[in-house]
């Protein structure tokens, strides 16, 4: 009898929804029925609302079932799911599911498709081709390709990656570094995690290319400690890549060297800020450094350092394979390429949507997201993490584009989109933004350290109807001080969620007559 291949994701969200028990039930049921089943632990496709999403390889391609509970497994065998048979949970061909079929998956092309730790699978799906191309180029030509692609950093600040790389290439030093920012501290974001868990060799490939482009021979990934599964899987990926010669003294037989390590953070949001991250990697408290010097000139241990987000590095191999123009053809304005958008919060179909820049919030929230999970109207959306603005329905037609968002006083950040229904209390959300800043402040500057605590108190007074007008004016002036007087974006951007809540949802700061939520 032929061996049936079944895919059950090993991904944080899939596991959180019960994937481990499902995988075990499939193995046990197959054994009991005498079926020969190979269970592959793939990454997630990013159709999170369908997790655990079980796939079966059939003659017609991969067909899906989901969300599957362990208790469904016997019934799936009864129905003949190993042959792709009909069942209440059947989803048909996975790649035809509109949520997936309508995406433009570049970075996430392999996620959920391959076994993330299988080097053969990686190579069979186009892996290492970008590195092969880079090995045939001079450093300056790799940098030029990244420059020409228009790729901007995906960690939040959207700075052109090629310019950083060029600076590092042009700075002489005995040792240069490539650092990957995998701190992914923004709430509502999980795309870095999905790459680390679902296609880790892609990140390794992108970082090796960055090493070749800049003359750096040591790479470090700084990963948040909240992601233990990503850590385990990524560390294993490094070990396997090194054993296969894709890391080490002789990358792919080229005679060029690059090695990689992964280090864990320790729960401090500020360590996502690049200079605090470098301090942390050096074994210190995560305090923000004054700039200049730029990390590209004096970064890790004082040496020239490329520091980019996971998605930035993960975007690079395809640019080298298909060319800068191919990548630049995606997108709008000065936002080129695709953005992996993460839909979360109160949303019916949460997940990962990779699309070229230019898609609107409304398309994301309704065409992909299917509206709120609660079935109530979506009242507010926070885009770009805890420092991102809260947007009302009137702004839902804004295209996802760095400049278009800046124009409405918002930011895309790392691409997190968090939906709230009409039960949300926006004064409470503004308060949380200040509270979060107070908890996470590195303490270096007063407006952030003290201002955020004052901000919480002022909002409490507004909510308690104490001198409302006076305190609202105070909140605005406090926000102004933080905006202008903070060294980094934690203190400097916290006013965005606060002021956007105040500006767009003023009624929530008014006298507390219970707002009609029917």
């Amino acid at each position: 009898m032929r061996t049936a291949t079944v895919y059950v994701p090993r991904d944080t969200t899939a596991l959180a929804c019960g994937a481990e028990a499902v995988a075990r039930a499939i193995v046990a049921e197959a054994a009991a029925r005498g079926f020969d089943v190979r269970v592959v632990r793939n990454g997630s496709r990013g159709l999170c609302w369908l997790e655990p999403l079980v796939e079966v390889a059939t003659a017609q391609g991969r067909v899906g079932y989901g969300p599957v509970a362990a208790a469904d497994v016997a019934g799936l065998f009864d129905a003949g799911f190993l042959h792709g048979a009909a069942h209440a949970l059947a989803l048909g061909a996975v790649e035809a599911i509109p949520y997936l079929a309508s995406q433009q998956r570049l970075c996430f092309a392999r996620n959920g498709v391959i076994d993330p730790l299988d080097l053969d699978d990686y190579a069979a799906h186009g892996g290492w081709k970008g590195l092969d191309a880079a090995l045939a180029l001079a450093s300056a030509d790799i940098v030029q390709a990244v420059l020409d692609s228009g790729l901007r950093g995906r960690g939040g600040a959207a700075f052109p990656a090629g310019i950083k790389w060029k600076t590092v290439l042009g700075t002489e030093a005995a040792q240069k570094y490539v650092v990957c920012n995998a701190d992914e501290g923004d709430s509502g974001t999980f795309s870095d995690r999905m790459i680390l868990e679902g296609d880790p060799f892609r990140l390794i490939e992108g970082m090796v290319i960055a090493g070749l482009a800049t003359g750096a021979t040591i790479g470090v990934v700084y990963l948040r400690s909240e992601y233990p599964l990503a850590f385990t899987l990524f560390r294993e990926a490094i070990t396997r890549a090194r054993a296969a010669g894709w890391l080490g003294a002789d990358i792919g037989g080229s005679g060029r060297a690059f090695d990689l390590d992964v280090r864990l953070g320790a729960g401090a949001y500020i360590c996502g800020e690049e200079t605090a991250l470098l301090e942390s990697l050096e074994g210190k408290r995560g305090q923000v450094r004054f700039k200049p010097p730029l990390p590209a000139i004096q970064g890790l241990f004082g040496q020239p350092t490329v520091i980019n987000n996971v998605i930035t590095f993960a975007s690079v191999p395809d640019i080298l394979v298909h060319g800068a123009a191919w990548y630049r053809d995606y997108g709008m304005g000065r936002s080129r390429g695709t953005l992996p958008i993460q839909l979360g919060g109160n949303i019916r179909r949460g997940g990962l949507v990779e699309r070229a820049f230019g898609i609107t919030l409304r398309e994301l929230l309704y065409d992909y997201g299917g509206g709120s999970a609660s079935g109530r109207p979506i009242r507010a959306v926070q885009v770009g993490g805890p420092l991102g603005a809260y947007l009302p329905e009137a702004r839902f037609d804004t295209p996802l584009d760095y400049e278009a968002f800046a124009a409405i006083g918002a930011m895309l950040g790392h691409g997190g989109v968090v939906a709230f229904d009409d039960t949300v209390d926006m004064a409470g959300q503004a308060r949380f933004a200040m509270e979060f800043c107070a908890i996470e402040s590195c303490g270096k500057c007063t407006p952030c350290r003290i201002g955020s605590t004052r901000g919480v108190e002022v909002i409490d007074r507004i909510r308690a109807s104490i001198d409302r007008e006076k305190n609202i004016a105070l909140l605005r002036s406090l926000s102004d001080t933080m905006l202008n007087g903070s060294l980094c974006a934690l203190g400097g951007l916290t006013p965005y969620p606060v002021l956007s809540a105040l500006d767009h949802f003023a009624e929530d700061f008014a006298a507390r007559v219970a707002r009609a939520v029917d």
Partner: protein, 171 residues
């Protein structure tokens, strides 16, 4: 630090390490001290092995890395992940961030505090459960999220919460 707090250092800081703890810390230091930027990897290894970073291990770490005790202490206290006191048998990390708020994390937090009778960063009197806040677990599409001893649970409702707490108390 004010002179008063310096005098009032917790007793377990001046008390030594248990012999097994000491051996463990020495082993970690022998293995990791040579790494560039070794302090965080060392603290992680100690906490993973012992459940916390014993204050009495600070002088050993300082000596091995040739930095001051104040430097080590400053790092341990800066990072929320590291703890200087023993945790309960189980650690619950409740996500307090926005995507989870949008799906009821505030009510979940209130229920958890009420059920456990403790606040954030505290441990129940029976030593069963430590409650910690966390700001995003990367499970925002299936919120609200709760991590129990390293495993994330998705879409946690009241019933599941009570069940998880009961399991922690029993085992």
């Amino acid at each position: 630090m004010s002179p008063a707090t310096a005098r009032d250092e917790p007793i377990d800081r001046v008390a030594g390490l248990e012999e097994t703890q000491r051996a463990f810390v020495v082993g970690v230091l022998a293995e990791l001290s040579g790494l560039p930027g070794a302090l965080l990897p060392i603290l992680h290894a100690i906490q993973d092995g012992l459940g916390f970073v014993p204050p009495a291990s600070v002088p050993l770490i300082a000596q091995a890395l040739n930095i001051s005790r104040a430097d080590v202490h400053g790092v341990v206290t800066f990072y929320p992940h590291f703890r200087s006191t023993r945790a309960g048998r189980h650690v619950l990390r409740l996500c307090r961030a926005e995507a989870c708020q949008a799906m009821g994390a505030r009510a979940l937090e209130a229920r958890l505090r009420e059920r456990l009778g403790i606040g954030l960063h505290e441990t129940t009197a029976d030593g069963a459960i430590t409650l910690e806040p966390v700001y995003c677990l990367g499970n925002c599409a299936c919120a609200p999220s709760l991590m129990v001893d390293g495993a994330v649970h998705a879409r946690v409702g009241d019933a599941e919460l009570d069940q998880l707490v009961a399991q922690c108390r029993e085992a």
